[in-house]
Amino acid sequence: MEKQHHIHLVPGDVGETVFLPGDVSRAKVIADHFDSAEFVAQNRQYITYTGMYKNVKVSVTSTGIGGAAAAIAIEELIKVGAKNFIRIGTGGAMQTWLPRPCLLVITGAVRGDGTTREYFPPEYPAIADLDIVEAMLKSAEELNIRVHTGLECSHDAFYAGSTLSKLDILTIEKPWIDAGVLIASQEASTVLALSMARRCRGGVILASAGCHQHPDLSASDEEMVIAISNATKIALETAVKLNNLDHKN
């Protein structure tokens, strides 16, 4: 098979579980948590490392920002053999009661993005895979890392829906805040809905430095490095559990 158009990968290049950070530089950070890792390919914002963790072949592919870019990565990764997609990312929390920083295991996503609207009618729900949610919660418990579970709100325009927006975001986000949605980010609805439709597993774990109501109270960069490292540890243990579910019975 010719290598995929954007990710430049061929079958065999990735494990069944692929971690999907948005940030290009985070691919290396995540790969550094594997027991072993090798650089596989890079084209545009798509960098892939593959390696082993506890004898399970795992990969990380950076997607760049947004649903549009994430959907390309997922479609092409499926063609080269990926089955489980775990987004490891960051976002802006929407609930003041969350700790700063916090780690969130996402159970579903508000579909405020355009990419999934092109794929699916708006009433189609973006749901995290049950196996992934349960494996993440079990892993967090085993690692003694505190996580919260709930919904993410995915959207497309960072400068409309972030603390750096010139718009009144707390008014825009009020329906989601009132409905208990935990965090705003950009890719969960794509990762979850597209994984469902392609009969793959999709999951998301997010770290947040602080909430949109109190941007001044955000956690430090150093604290966020630890939070993302913890998210990666949970994601890796999740990959092992998924491997056990699929191959050890």
Binding site: L151, A179, G180, M196
Partner: protein, 250 residues
């Protein structure tokens, strides 16, 4: 404030009338099936289509409330149950199975629902996902395993107009359903997306288990054994309620 002032307008109940887990079903007649399957049970309230029994099974307190057909009456029932302190809402219902591999007597456990209803849109925009709480999904799976009842887990579709998407519909109902079949939707019902949205927005756990029949496009003369299968459906709901109780989710 006097407890009576909190008596809910339609379900005609106050806090304490129901268990932490309430099974809800469209058909008031099915509440009686529930009542008969419990070790002991008593009628709590009846008003319009809302009939409630509470009872005990293996020492666990569980309630069952009928809501009538459709999102409008279900939205009222769910909102009022939440207002009297319900923690887990599990819909036990029937449906139109739309995947050819489904068989009568199998359970369909919903992970989420296509929001084809209009009631939930009055609460929040269509972007918000109608998803079943993962702990209820797990409880329903474990309940089916314990009772050795075959099940399928996946997406369902909720809509308002029964006579648009059922075998008795006018015109080509299969053409209307084809896009949902292609998206792996297992079955069609009239209530679940409404329940998931209203409960989800308020941090209340909800889920759905549906009894499959023959796929609705297929000609068949087989015996549905519906009465026995309805009992199995209710027993799955009761077992799931017990599991939630065992896990301290109440």
């Amino acid at each position: 404030m006097n407890k009576e002032q909190h008596r809910q307008h339609h379900i005609d109940m106050v806090e304490g009338d129901t268990a932490p887990t309430v099974l809800i079903t469209g058909d008031p007649g099915r509440v009686k099936v529930f009542a008969d399957l419990m070790d002991e049970s008593w009628k709590v309230a009846q008003k319009r289509e809302y009939l409630t029994y509470t009872g005990k099974k293996d020492g666990v307190l569980i309630s069952c409330t009928s809501t009538g057909i459709g999102p409008s009456s279900t939205a009222i029932g769910v909102e009022e149950l939440i207002r009297i302190g319900t923690k887990n809402i599990i819909r036990i219902g029937t449906c139109g199975a739309i995947q050819s591999f489904l068989k009568p007597g199998e359970m369909i456990i919903a992970t989420g629902a296509i929001r084809g209803d209009r009631a939930s849109e009055e609460f929040i925009s269509i972007d918000y996902p109608a998803i079943a709480d993962y702990r209820i999904v797990r409880a329903l799976i474990d309940a089916c395993d314990r009772l050795k009842v075959p099940y399928h887990k996946g997406l369902i579709r909720t809509h308002d107009a029964f006579y648009m998407e059922s075998p008795w519909a006018i015109g080509d109902y299969k053409a209307r359903l084809q896009k949902w079949i292609d998206l792996d939707v297992l079955a069609i019902d009239n209530e679940s997306s409404t329940i998931f949205v209203i409960a989800g927005m308020q941090g209340v756990r909800s889920g759905t288990v549906l009894l499959s029949g023959y796929p609705i496009f297929e000609e068949h003369n087989g015996d549905l054994n519906q009465e026995e299968n309805i009992k199995k459906l209710v027993l799955v709901g009761i077992e799931a309620a017990k599991i939630l109780h065992e896990k301290g989710l109440n």
